[in-house]
Symmetry: C2
């Protein structure tokens, strides 16, 4: 695992305010029978950056500190983790107080523009991300078909809120087929930002990593993955035209419609080591 | 259909800039075979309200004018459709120019606060929506199990981009089991806002209507439905805790996990006329 140890780097002080993930609901089904089912939690969490209200996120609350860090990083509001002094979540007031060392320069300008995207769970990405695409350079990460299958098997075996309650999106970071971190939230962007927050906190680069998401590969998902330095992205779900176009520009490999041993590779063929002999015996109807 | 004709009301001038919905992608499957598949379009559309940049939405572009109107309405930026003079979409510059009669009062304040929600396709809802929940009053709309089945059958038969390309969310407005309007977009909030825009434009009230969505019933979906005066909401997908709680406060009926002839009624039992005799013969595993 290509972690970059920086012993000298001051580590932010994080609270550990992970909350209950699911709640029960009493429902009636089509037979008129009462049933008790699980729902994912959904809470509002307002981020304050140096006491300035930044944004309110709707989250399941599983990894609120990593979510806050990832949000800051993916929005490029703070560029160096060493600038972050502490991240303190308090569910009594649904607030997350982020304090930096020395404050954030021109925060007014950084938070001025608003783009509403297809992001589930985090629709807003501040202006400028699109402009970054041209300057992003991704390493020569590759993925074999065997690793892809191993990754999908690992996800299938993983215990998730989705399996018990549905209505959440999952995201996972892999090195080959080894699972490094799994996150879930009511929106796929929160799940992705929590991964970004962890990578930022631990100094883990995207080099050699594969990102798995249950969500669709829209423009913002592709941009965020690229910002994290991840060149291979795998989705259980589909893709949009702009996600596809951006991935081509970035030279990123996008796998979508990944279920069981089926998948479609949309972009970045040079990053994929095909092993069709590992494919299921009977081709599906094309 | 309970349209409220207002012949005297000045009608906004709308462009008709519906764009191509899908694009082809050349992909490689697990057998190493090339295939051509469809992807939904995803384009950025920047809304300008009286020449002031408001927001950039990522959209498939199917009903951009209705989307813009619905966004204005659901964000409560303009309260009366008669205030809207024109909505002109120009894909050459990916811009939608909305002009009002007499301008919008205190727009600065109205657009000041930002909440990032679980909204796919429209994550941002300006502050204050939550505050409205207490004041919203919904009519005594009811739905029978037979009407629910008719509605689900209509959706199953409906031709959709989803069926050809996936990766989009659909939304539909019904009166009983009669389909009034169907919309699709890369995010479920865009699809919902386009419905809201149409209702606003045509003077259609939510009384006696049922809203169908392929998306999850999160807090924002419930709030927007209530703002539209719709008291019965049906989802193919799931629900979150906050969506559930808000619906209970609002006295709204929420049906989720609606597939084939199965469904779960989460809230608002008083609005549902159960007909278990219409349920499928064999109960599903609970």
């Amino acid at each position: 695992m290509s972690a970059l140890p920086e012993p000298a780097r001051p580590r932010p002080l994080l609270s550990s305010a992970s909350t209950r993930f699911t709640h029960e609901a009493r429902v009636v089904d089509e037979f008129g029978h009462e049933r008790v089912v699980q729902m994912p939690a959904e809470r509002d969490l307002t981020l304050y950056l140096d006491k300035r209200e930044l944004v309110t996120l709707m989250t399941m609350g599983g990894q609120p500190e990593l979510l806050a860090l990832g949000y800051l990083r993916n929005q490029r509001l703070v560029t160096d983790i060493a600038q972050v002094e502490s991240v303190q979540v308090d569910w009594d007031v649904n607030a997350c107080a982020i304090t930096t060392r020395g404050g954030v320069a021109d925060i007014e300008a950084r938070t001025a523009r608003r783009i509403v995207t297809t992001g589930c769970g985090q629709g807003t990405v501040f202006g400028g991300l699109m402009d970054e695409v041209g300057s992003l350079r991704l390493g020569d990460t590759r993925l074999t078909q065997g690793e892809l299958y191993g990754l999908l098997d690992a996800m299938r075996r993983h215990e998730t809120v989705y399996k018990s309650a549905g209505s959440v999106h999952g995201c996972a970071l892999f090195e080959g087929e080894r699972l490094l971190l799994f996150t879930e939230d009511v929106g796929r962007h929160n799940a992705l930002d929590a991964i970004a927050g962890w990578m930022w906190l631990e100094g883990v680069s995207g080099e050699g990593k594969t990102l798995y998401t249950t969500g669709r590969l829209t423009s913002e998902m592709v941009i965020k993955s690229a910002q994290m330095g991840v060149a291979v992205v795998v989705s259980r779900s589909g893709i949009t035209e702009m996600g596809h176009r951006l991935a081509e520009q970035l030279g990123m490999a996008l796998f979508a419609r990944c279920t069981n041993r089926h998948f479609l590779l949309y972009t970045g063929r040079e990053r994929f080591v095909a092993q069709p002999e590992l494919a299921p015996p009977v081709p599906p109807a094309a």
